[in-house]
Amino acid sequence: MRKCRKCGAPAVIYMRQHRLALCKEHFLEWFVEQTARTIKRYRMFTPKDRVLVAVSGGKDSLTLWDVLWRLGYQADGLYIGLGIDGGIQYSDQSRALSEQFAQERGLRLLVVDIPETYGVSIPELARRSRRGKGKPCAVCGLVKRHEMNRIAHDLGYNVLATGHNLDDEAAVLFGNVLQWQMGYLVRQGPVLPEAPGLARKVKPLVRFYERETAAYALLRGIPYIYDECPYAEGATSMVHKELLNRLEEERPGAKLQFYVNFLKAKEEGWFRQPEPPALHRCEVCGQPTTAPGLCAFCRTLRRAGIDPAQVYVTLPKPEATEPAASVADRAEGAAASSTPVQLAEEDTEP
């Protein structure tokens, strides 16, 4: 039986790429410490920043929010309702789980419902605008990015955090390399710096494998949406993840090296943009865009027969579940932890 490297108790997980086995208590502690380290290593944010976490109800985003909360950062959540049913009420369920999570911890969750706000669900918008070759994922990503930017800007958040893990990032990197998408390669990383009108984007979980973010959620007892979005199956990113996992089986650490060595090469200056594109402001929504005129989001609405200028003047404010008076104990679930979780307030910048 595998024993925890720190205390010798039976391990709950063995991470082959680190040759590290840990018990529940020490895994949870390690996970929080590693996240804090990544946040500092890439200068993602400090306790002074106002962070907005994109919450989907899935294991990664709820894990991220839980860790930031335990570390003592100011992090509110943003849930974007996509209007996806797929016979499992995917959107309704994931919203309920996100709200439950926020309530239990006394955290503030902002909710933007796309069908309510724009009058169309994501699958319908994809169909009507004839974008994405039958899959709503491209439109879905576009809408989510636009709405995150909009809410962050309008409500004064300077950092947007997402729960992308290493498997997500390695799959994207693999896709970008297969096509030699230099424009994307230059921009891919754990931090996308702020630009005029755009909050900084950060991914504090980029150094964890997907099975580790899932293990964290399970061990912390966080209920998350287990079912996939009905449109995920067959997505290119899934194919890339499976390929990388085949490699990982043969060579533990292959995924980690693939991604981390890419970041190292970037830091050494191997991926530089010859000339950054000039940014324009979208004529309707004001968000930065690479071409003059309308941004991709507003163009998509127009293609779907919706006048972006019309909806944009009457946009409802996002609903917010206000923090409850009683706040659950941050350390709960890691209760047995002998070393207390390091709070962000105690952090000193290097």
């Binding site: 997980i13 099975r211 899934m238």
Partner: protein, 71 residues
């Protein structure tokens, strides 16, 4: 003379896979045609490392960990 091989069961999303017992769970996952990187094994409600050996007759629940799309 052929002897009965002891077996165990893996269960993923309601599907059951019969695999030989007394081999590491990781190996059994692979023999079931699944990816050990894409699941976490649970024994009696507790997560366990996947290099642990399968006990004859037991059922190990597997939790899928891969999520897709642009989510």
């Amino acid at each position: 003379m052929a002897q009965e091989q002891p077996t165990a069961t893996l269960e993923l999303r309601g599907k059951r896979y019969t695999v030989p017992a007394n081999i590491p769970i990781r190996e059994a996952i692979r023999r079931a045609g699944l990816s050990p990187e894409a699941v976490l094994p649970v024994r009696d409600g507790e997560l366990i490392p996947d290099d642990e050996r399968l006990r004859p007759g037991e059922t190990i629940r597997l939790i899928a960990v891969i999520s897709g799309g642009d989510a």
